[in-house]
Symmetry: C2
Subunit: 473 residues, 2 copies
Amino acid sequence: MNSPENSLSERTDHTATAANDVVALLAAELGDAVSTDAAALAAARADKSGHVAEGTPLAIVTARTIADVQATMRIAHRTGTPVVTRGAGTGLAGGAIADRGEIVLSTLAMNAILEISTDDEIAVVEPGIINADLNAVLATKGLWFAPDPASKAISTVGGNIATNAGGLLCAKYGVTREAVSGLTVVLADGSLLELGHRTVKGVTGLDFTALFIGSEGTLGVIVGATLRLRRLPTGPVATIGAYFASVEAAARAASVISSSGLRPAIMELVDHQAMDGINRYLGLEGRDGESYLLVQFDGSGAAVDSDAALAVIRSLGGEAELTEDREEAERLFRIRRSFHPAMETRGTVLIEDVCVPRSALPAMFQAISDIEVQFGVSIPTVAHAGDGNLHPNFVFDADPLAPGGVPENIWAAADELFLAALRLGGTLTGEHGVGMLKRRWLGHELGAPQLELQRQVKAVFDPQGLLNPGKVF
Amino acid sequence: MNSPENSLSERTDHTATAANDVVALLAAELGDAVSTDAAALAAARADKSGHVAEGTPLAIVTARTIADVQATMRIAHRTGTPVVTRGAGTGLAGGAIADRGEIVLSTLAMNAILEISTDDEIAVVEPGIINADLNAVLATKGLWFAPDPASKAISTVGGNIATNAGGLLCAKYGVTREAVSGLTVVLADGSLLELGHRTVKGVTGLDFTALFIGSEGTLGVIVGATLRLRRLPTGPVATIGAYFASVEAAARAASVISSSGLRPAIMELVDHQAMDGINRYLGLEGRDGESYLLVQFDGSGAAVDSDAALAVIRSLGGEAELTEDREEAERLFRIRRSFHPAMETRGTVLIEDVCVPRSALPAMFQAISDIEVQFGVSIPTVAHAGDGNLHPNFVFDADPLAPGGVPENIWAAADELFLAALRLGGTLTGEHGVGMLKRRWLGHELGAPQLELQRQVKAVFDPQGLLNPGKVF
């Protein structure tokens, strides 16, 4: 296997003497867009994955224009310097972590909305705009960018695209790929490319837009995007909060709701370990082993569909309430929203992300229970139940930011978790991406021949391997 | 510019003496799956585009298994023989036309449904299954493969995937890409690859599944597909048929329906030239210049939404009727369905396919009118109005199957039509593909640097250029 560690250190040795020159070249061309501030460089060594790079990057370029991005890439290309593109740094797989000898190219300040067309239901944006900020503007026009990662209040649309982000609404409203029709990208040599189209349909040539979505900064730098918007759903929203005696019962209810043809906008499952932590955090008296299912319907069929879902839930032993009142709904949501804060009070948290066929959800919960016993770890889990997408959380007592900070049994348990998901016909990552953290399992899922082809396609766009080295491939 | 014509003739010269050997190799390995029947070879020189290859292919392999496809590709690879993969041959862009020196690899007999999972809402199928045949089986389980090209009664799912087919329902239900989560493909060297996943979400590595969808047989041979199904919509379906005094008024009504947030399952616009032919064909007394808008709503909001659409239509001068009765709806549909038969009574028809941003639909109709005058041709047009996808039809008096059969002014008018679509921010092809017919305009839309990158990506999968040479690139 091609060792990226080796190629990284070779590259570092090669450019070590030239590091000051690279920073000088950047500064000469880009002025105060270039920073070597120690705190900023340190921050760029981490994201929200719990992983921290060993070394410190060369400099951060805060691009304000496409020309800034092109100038940075031209210097990188000329000097053979690796570049890590970074938005808000909220990734959970280490995809935007920068290491020794690398330029950090931040697109966070490129955050303008360039166009909103109500008639065509599209928006053209710069990559640094925060998902929730965009949606706040769109809402004033009755429009909506549907991709809604849980990080939407802090993550950028560019980052959402780079990871093909999912979220809570995917079963009904699709993932990011379905909401992007075109991209403007800067390639490794600094050249600019327009991909895709402004139209609803378009099949001219290979679908490079889809190829870039989820490519995690390895093919080019996303500097603009044409987004496919939806109308904000109107009318009352119906929300159900349901308690079940076990996670199996809750998973079964979710499965029957899906297979009966109902399509909730949101269907979140909170397992017993997670509920235990949430109840303690909120000071609620929960019952041993209880699990929670949150279901929400929107659109013109919301009332009818939520009644049907409620009947399913009750027939399977769920204690449920249904409301169309916004404040009541907020109370039902609060349990799910309290998951991450509750976990953080209990220790350090690694948020994992596997996806299995919906029918394998109960088997995956069983596998998680087995892994907890086998490795002596606690893995509270929430799931986007309509998608079969689980977020098992590893909670432990250690500082992950210290080198070697994540205990070995946690990595071993995570390893077993990924293999269990693959055995169930699932995938390593439903929505977070591969980044640095899942590279070693990539060949398990893709197979060696496909992985080799993926590397060759990457090399077409980035023959020198400058873009986000050590990530994904 | 790289000339595919040259490379094709070089290849032909090179392999001319070996042609008999290639057929012998195929026959030795594949037995009666190999045919050199003259009528079958002649049929493979054409599709439904009106274009016919000058030469005759070597042989047709009717693959029945993945192993047959692999054996064919291994022989092709060893002997440097080009291969044209072909399903039902219903394409409209010449993408499955085979020429001198080429092997035709038919996947039409690989038509099994390997699995249907109601719980996971997926089906695993072979590529040769006819779209409508698959849906007939799925309907017995309350399931549905949503992509619905107008050719669905005769086109294969493999062909739908190879062209990323659209259809009448895309604005609401998406194109083929949104309905495929995984592919099994045989590469140019005969090796087998599994792409994608069975799960709702999955972001492991580059999205090769999306790259293959719409690649028109240039990257590999699709030998299996994992399809994302939907539940068949239940409840009454509401259908509106509306007459307008002009195509502009009909287009405006379609635009207001979309921009008021309604999302019809179907919204078809039939322009005045098309209506003139349809009225004559059906023996109806139409009014001069009248155009027709067919709108259909399904799902639980159908009744409410169709009332709202009817109000829009009447406020804009449309004479409309709304029905939930199936037979009445069929009568309203009959006008749209009679378009192609009506055109065929008037001469030879070339069906074109451009897509513009929805807001540019009136401007595109204006451009079509101008082109009719400028080139002295008649271009009756239907449009999937919710998508901005127009099918201008060139109707003329000539046998297109005779070499040089399509008159020069028709090609000149088509040329102008494509450029007009691009000028309006549109695309060369909304759903039919590039094939042979639109190659010369490809660089206009993609630009030379992107076209060059697309060729390099193609070369990663097919370094010898064996797969569908002379198509797309």
